[in-house]
């Protein structure tokens, strides 16, 4: 299977000399195509920093990252923007939908920005909307729909360009448990049926239990890694909880 993410010795430090804070300390990470990977760890462990670096929003101090075969560290602003648009999809905790656009317009935005032909664009939007069951609300505005619907809209927007890598930052953080479960099921389905590669940062052991593999970070270093394999989701959930209690600091987030 093809490697989508290959990160070698990523280091990220903040602050000036004498007072340096290391957010990421030589982390290696490989994600294969079709994998659904969870990233966990206590607050301040460097989860979000890792995600931002992979998302090309933040730059590592040193190390080497390639995504879908492209080395992202030597790109300039414009190349990075295009790379984000074409290769990456994002899902955020607070949805990050544009209030001035309808659900449909929000979803098609990345396609419009890539100047895709209108007919093809409409087809893609229809297909994605159907998959996530939001066809009925396509003409509504974000402030008219529920949190779960917003997040499904956000996911639709993230995958409408068929990105090589889908990055999710606490996607279930603001959702009720029913909506959260729906969303996680859909993400799992995406990775299993359509070979979508997903990297999800989460605090929530329940959310992590939907992943195929979970990596744990502590103090900027790789702490351990769990692979679901053939175990059931419930057993995997228990395993995640065990690691979290060993890790400390994350347990109070269990639902």
């Amino acid at each position: 299977m093809k490697h989508i993410v290959e990160a070698r010795k990523i280091k990220k430090t903040y602050g000036a000399r004498g007072n340096v804070f290391t957010a990421l300390d030589e982390i290696d990470l490989t994600v294969r195509q079709g994998e659904f990977v969870g990233v966990m760890g206590p607050s301040g462990a460097g989860k979000s920093t890792l995600l931002n670096v992979l998302a090309t929003i933040d730059e590592p101090t040193s190390g080497d990252i390639s995504i879908d075969g492209f080395s992202i560290l030597n790109m300039n602003e414009e190349q990075l923007s295009n790379f984000r648009r074409d290769k990456l999809g994002f899902i955020f905790q607070d949805y990050n939908l544009l209030d001035t656009l309808t659900v449909k317009e929000n979803i098609l935005l990345p396609l419009a920005l890539a100047k895709i032909d209108v007919i093809k664009l409409e087809e893609r939007v229809e297909a994605v909307a159907e998959k996530f069951g939001i066809t009925a609300i396509l003409d509504k505005y974000p402030y008219q729909i529920s949190g779960g619907q917003k997040q499904r809209t956000a996911v639709s927007r993230a995958i409408v360009t068929k990105p090589s890598l889908l990055l999710a930052d606490e996607p279930t953080g603001a959702l009720d448990s029913k909506s959260a479960t729906d969303l996680l099921e859909s993400l799992k389905e995406l990775s299993e049926q359509e070979q979508a590669t997903i990297l999800m940062v989460t605090h929530d052991a329940y959310a992590a239990s939907y992943c195929g593999r979970v990596i744990f970070i502590k103090d900027g270093k790789l702490f351990t890694e769990l692979v679901k394999g053939k175990t059931s989701r419930k057993e995997f959930f228990q395993k995640v909880l065990d690691v979290l209690s060993a890790l400390g600091g994350g347990t109070n987030d269990i639902i």
Binding site: R84, D86, F92, A112
Partner: protein, 640 residues
């Protein structure tokens, strides 16, 4: 800590928030104070005393300015509190009593107002000096302006602004009582709805604008009554105001929605972002846009008209007083006295002098002529041709005995087809003359009725036998624009009986220039104020918007829109916000100026295109400055 301290700390801590409000207050005070000091200025006082129009103009302007300044301060005050509702809500949430919060807001506003008043008066003093110098320069005099603070101006400014500041402070006090706590927290959420628009209001908006344009542009009826003016232009004004508002409220929205229909264009790049943002904001901005468009229209119109007057003054003076000096002959001794006076002025040697015999007769015309034709003044061909040579203006004429040429009465718009082939019956003598032409080129200073007819020398001699001609003497000298001393003496000698205007060109020219300069100055000043204020309003509005939409642009960056594209859409949106009201303002003012120029150009006989285009260009140039400033600041906020 006392409440007073808290209010003071509030200002210190949140300075940037307060700065915008403070600056607009200071700005208003500076403007008002400058204008009032000018009003109290001696030089200007003289002109005001001399002319009742000038007096009226100043009174009206200062009232208008007062009204405007009050509205502007109230506007910035509500803009300021809108941004602070959340903070006020927080105080209430933390358990501060309503009365305490109210008092705090009152003190805060009052304190700022007082500080603004002091700063405003200090800067206003400096600025009024500058403006007085500009005015004096424009009037063409070289008088020294003394530098000093006018107590009267300070008193008037302090009084006016004290009232305004107390009013806004009370408004601040009442803020906490006017809203529920929950409303205070949702202050910024307003105006985010998608605008709905009815076809009826769109059509009505366009219709009202069309009607107002038609009412303004249609030609005068046969009889121009006060009632007609009042009703016609009253309706035009009202429908223009409402039409403009509907234009921004409905027509623009409809147009944007129409634009959205074309998916190929709409779904292309950042078009989708820019268009939808504009569509969402326009309804909240409609009132501001209307105000700005109308203010721009008024400013451009007034300034254009005033500048036309200033610009056309020289030409106008030449028409009103064609020769450097003119007088009626009153015996040899008197005439010699005048001639020696003119000859004594060695700096302005005589180029030409002409004697003009004029015979006043009564007569009838064979066609309907709305001008007061009697008494008509006959002038011999020979004398007229001498005038043509002396002034080097117009063409030499040749007439046979029964032919005549009419000279177009000044301040009218007749053309030669009305006269050609028509006849003139001289009542007493029974003579008949045929008009061969109507020409431009008056010879004597204006005196109503201004109807001169050139006749052949033979016919004139015949007439002169029966009626004794009046003899006029005219002189043309070199450098007639600077004959201050001689002109003064001549004016005194000749007196005011000979003509309705001055007998010397210089005085007419100078006085017109001073009057027009003052008018232009007042309008220019008001225009500058409106311009600065409207520009600032858009600037502040865009900045608030930038802060509100910062998150959207962050999202866009994350999903792969590069800085350049965001910059482009910000450019496009700002251009729209600045360009739309300005365009409407310019179209409105073009219509108004077209109407005004109909009689202005008759009045001053000058080409009004140049000054009007200059006024518009100046307006646009300043707007472009604001536009660039806004785009840059917007970018700094939203596109880091």
């Amino acid at each position: 800590m006392t409440l007073f301290d808290l209010a003071k700390k509030n200002i210190q801590g949140n300075f940037s928030n307060y700065l915008v409000y403070f600056v607009s207050m200071v700005f208003s005070i500076i403007i008002y104070f400058t204008f009032v000091s000018l009003q109290y200025n001696e030089k200007i006082q003289e002109s005001i005393l001399l002319s009742s129009t000038m007096n009226f103009l100043f009174m009206a302007s200062s009232l208008l300015l007062l009204l405007f300044v009050a509205v502007f301060i109230l506007y910035s005050n509500s803009f300021f509190t809108r941004n602070r509702k959340r903070e006020v809500g927080l105080y209430s949430l933390l358990g501060l009593r309503k009365k305490t919060i109210g008092k705090m807001l009152f003190y805060e506003n009052f304190l700022m107002g007082m500080l603004a008043l002091v700063v405003g008066i200090i800067f206003g003093t400096l600025l009024s000096k500058l403006f007085t110098m500009i005015l004096v320069k424009m009037m063409g005099s070289s008088a020294e302006i003394e530098f000093g603070i006018s107590i009267g101006a300070v008193g008037q400014t302090v009084l006016v602004f004290l009232v305004i500041i107390i009013a806004t402070s009370i408004q601040g006090y009442r803020l906490i009582y006017r809203f529920k706590l929950i409303e205070l927290f949702h202050a910024e959420k307003k105006g985010e709805q998608t605008p709905k628009v009815s076809i009826a209001s769109t059509v009505l908006g366009l219709l009202l604008l069309a009607v107002s344009y038609w009412l303004i542009l249609r030609s005068f009826p046969e009889e121009l009554t006060d009632g007609y003016i009042f009703v016609n232009y009253g309706i035009a004004l009202v429908s223009m105001v409402i039409g403009t508002h509907l234009f921004f409220r409905s027509v623009v929205i409809s147009l944007l929605k129409l634009y959205k229909r074309n998916k190929t264009r709409y779904y292309k790049g950042t078009n989708i972002i820019g268009t939808s943002q504009l569509l969402h904001r326009i309804q909240g901005n409609a009132r501001t846009f209307t105000m700005i468009a109308l203010l721009s229209a008024v400013t451009i119109s007034l300034f254009g008209a005033a500048y036309s007057g200033y610009y056309g003054n020289e030409k106008n003076s030449f028409e009103m007083v064609p020769f450097s000096y003119s007088h009626q002959s009153k015996g040899n001794e008197f005439d010699a006295q005048i001639e020696s006076l003119i000859q004594a002025d060695k700096e302005h040697p005589i180029i030409a002098q002409v004697e003009l015999p004029i015979v006043e007769v009564e007569g009838q015309l064979t066609f309907a002529f709305s001008y007061e034709a009697n008494p008509m003044k006959l002038l011999p061909e020979k004398a007229y041709n001498e005038v043509v040579k002396a002034l080097q203006k117009g063409d030499v004429v040749t007439l046979s005995e029964d032919e005549a040429i009419a000279i177009k009465p000044r301040l009218t718009e007749y053309n030669s087809s009305l006269f050609k082939g028509e006849q003139l019956h001289l009542t007493e003598e029974g003579h008949e003359l045929t008009f061969v032409d109507l020409i431009e080129g008056s010879v004597l200073p204006f005196d109503y009725p201004d109807f001169y007819i050139v006749v052949s020398d033979e016919f004139f001699t015949k007439m002169a036998n029966d009626i004794k001609p009046q003899l006029f003497k005219v002189y043309e000298v070199e450098g007639e624009k600077s004959t201050e001393v001689t002109s003064g003496k001549i004016n005194k000698l000749v007196g005011k009986e000979d003509f309705q205007v001055y007998p010397s060109f210089y005085t007419e020219y100078k006085e017109g220039k001073e009057g027009n300069a003052l008018t232009l100055f007042i309008f220019g000043f008001l225009g500058l104020v409106f311009l600065a204020a409207t520009g600032s309003i858009i600037y502040f509005k865009q900045l608030t918007e930038a802060n509100e939409t910062k998150i959207s642009y962050e999202i866009l960056r994350k999903i792969g829109v590069n800085k350049k594209a965001i910059r482009k859409t910000i450019h496009m949106q700002t251009l729209f916000v600045f360009g739309l009201p300005l365009t409407i303002g310019i179209v409105h003012s073009s219509v108004i100026l077209h109407f005004v120029s109909n009689f202005i150009s008759d009045l001053i006989g000058a080409n009004v295109i140049v000054p009007i285009v200059t006024a518009m260009a100046a307006f646009i140039a300043i707007y472009i400055g604001y536009y660039i400033l806004t785009v840059n600041t917007y970018n700094k906020i939203a596109n880091k």
